[in-house]
Symmetry: C2
Subunit: 348 residues, 2 copies
DNA sequence: CTGTTAGCGCCTTCAA
DNA sequence: TTGAAGGCGCTAACAG
């Protein structure tokens, strides 16, 4: 790899001059600029960001930690953040924590060692030692929590409005005439999940429906586990729910597997709605009703806040952004109205 | 951020000693080691990778360029590569080219500036100027092509065995009794797509079926476009195909949308099979038959090759790895046998 | 405008 | 086993 010195020699100028034409920080005469640029092309020179960063102590790099970018929601968040970063000429490093607290700690440390200028964090579902994140913030590292927000710790954060979003989903189920609505949640160590559960309860109460503890099922983020839990509940003695509301995507996937395994169809045998898109929900037959989070925007806004902090152009107080979810009404939440592929008006 | 010097001062030793305990390259007495480690914790010291890299000219970082990590196939590849990297204590930077040749060029340049030690490249679908990649290789940058392999350029590469994979899918359709099998491809600028088309043709020929040009539809990677193309074909006058084979995931998605829009059901009205998983294919009703690529393994193996090259422990000749795909037979490819949610034996 | 130079933080000889 | 010192490639003064 050629260095700036080799470029300078070839162009017959001083290294400072080369640096000036590269950064554009100091005006350089047209003649020299051309010579320098010719030399750069000739040598196929690529400025060493490492050396630059060491000198300027700026990396123009952001990091983002997600639980698992194999879950469709997260790549969208990442793409959003990437766009915002790119607009300001920053790059983004994305890594997976696998929802492990210790792995998350390592990653945080790695990112700090790499001297990223800010971190976007989707907390691991495993209870995160608060010291891990307070340490980061205390050390003056810019941090914005995304999607999953810590409980009693003030940080910049961007996520969806969980309570209204869940209410919206459950309200819809109620409006379709369902009375025994069960919900299955992800890990309640996540504030989101507790909030969504709250939304579920509020919607029921507001409609004058009883909140039945037997209809609140505690799941997790592994579809197989969730499927097993649901199968148990659905096959148990006693009255069945006539609708199920899942509070997140992987959990919703588990419900679908359980329904299939139990030979239950939506919405004929049981109605269903879930948080999060399943990528192709509209193609399911029947198509699935979902509470859709603005994933891309969440990532975008979060990165913007980070960038503002870096530029020092942000207020002191913690910034809290809650974006509204939207409801895509499709077939699975309806009453027993058999739909067929392509039946007119079959999907919203 | 504390520096190694501050750690040394606090521990009462020289910076060299601190470096020794961190890298483990030189033995240090137990007593000093403890003092140093205490100081590190005390200061919450994180070694500056930037400085280290500048000195050692090693970043322990790999880069991977994918078209769009929002397509489910790619996150799996990335996770595979990430695992292989992590085993050797490397990190991975993943970026998206959006299938744009120029963006890919920028990204390549960025990665070089960041001094990654090797690059995994899934080429953009837009025809890539061969100089772009030959330049990289010529400059001595380690590069492994993943999934999408250049045409007439010798590089290390890892991908699926396209021809047999496509043959397998089409063979299956044939074995289910379908005679007029259409195929819809992605951009033929991609060698993969041409190979898969070849597999389609070979399967037909081997079965003594005619290769009908009217049944070879040229699509792309945008589901909406593909849906439009399919709708046109399906609504045109003349005999319809009784099966469709899609040569990749996004294209397959487009087919499904078209079928829905045309009110056609699989497999009753038309059979269907596609390359690539749609994340939840097994939950579709009817469940979708897919040719599954070992995405994780592809990423893993590719990163391993890169790492071998970096360590210099690889032969000189270009390494070419082709992994077999597998066929998941489900409902959509069958003959007109109506299936129901949970019907025993309904899905493979 | 152009050239010179002092570090950025760290690792690695090399000498003690 | 420990400590001292040079220099990786670059940018940002500063001097010319």
């Amino acid at each position: 790899m050629p260095t700036i010195k080799e470029v300078a020699d070839l162009a017959g100028v001083a290294v400072g001059t080369v640096s000036h034409v590269i950064t554009g920080s100091v005006p350089v005469s047209e003649a020299l600029r051309r010579k320098v640029q010719a030399a750069i092309r000739e040598l196929d020179y690529h400025p060493n960001h490492i050396a630059r960063s060491l000198k300027t102590s700026k990396t123009r790099t952001l990091g983002i930690i997600v639980p698992d970018m194999t879950i469709p929601y997260f790549p969208r968040v990442i793409r959003g953040a990437e766009s915002a970063a790119r607009e300001r000429n920053y790059s983004l490093i994305a890594v997976n924590s696998d929802d492990s607290g210790s792995r998350q700690g390592e990653l945080l440390s790695l990112l700090r060692s790499q001297r990223v200028e800010g971190i976007l964090l989707v907390m691991a579902a495993a209870p995160t030692p608060m010291t891990q994140i307070s340490g980061i913030v205390g050390a003056g590292i810019r941090l914005v929590c995304v999607d999953r927000i810590p409980d009693r710790f003030q940080v910049d954060s961007v996520s969806v409005e969980d309570v209204p979003a869940a209410e919206m989903g459950v309200d819809h189920l109620i409006s379709m005439g369902h009375l025994r609505i069960a919900t299955i949640t992800g890990p309640l160590s996540l504030k989101n999940e507790r909030q969504r559960l709250l939304g579920y309860e509020q919607a029921l109460k507001r409609a004058g429906l009883p909140v039945n503890r037997e209809l609140i099922w505690h799941g997790n983020l592994r579809p197989e586990d969730v499927a097993a839990i649901c199968r148990d509940r659905l096959q148990a003695a006693g009255p069945k729910p006539d609708a199920i509301f899942a509070t997140n995507g992987p959990t919703g996937l588990g419900v679908l597997r359980a329904l299939r395994d139990c030979g239950l169809r939506t919405p004929d045998d049981i109605a269903f709605a879930t948080f999060d898109e399943l990528t192709v929900d509209d193609l399911f037959l029947p198509a699935i009703t979902t509470v859709v989070q603005p994933a891309y925007d969440i990532g975008f806004r979060a990165a913007e806040i980070l960038l503002q902090r870096i530029e020092g152009s942000a207020e002191d107080a913690a910034i809290t952004i809650r974006l509204p979810a939207s409801l895509k009404v499709r077939d699975s939440s309806g009453l027993s109205t058999r739909r067929h592929f392509g039946a007119p008006g079959g999907a919203a």
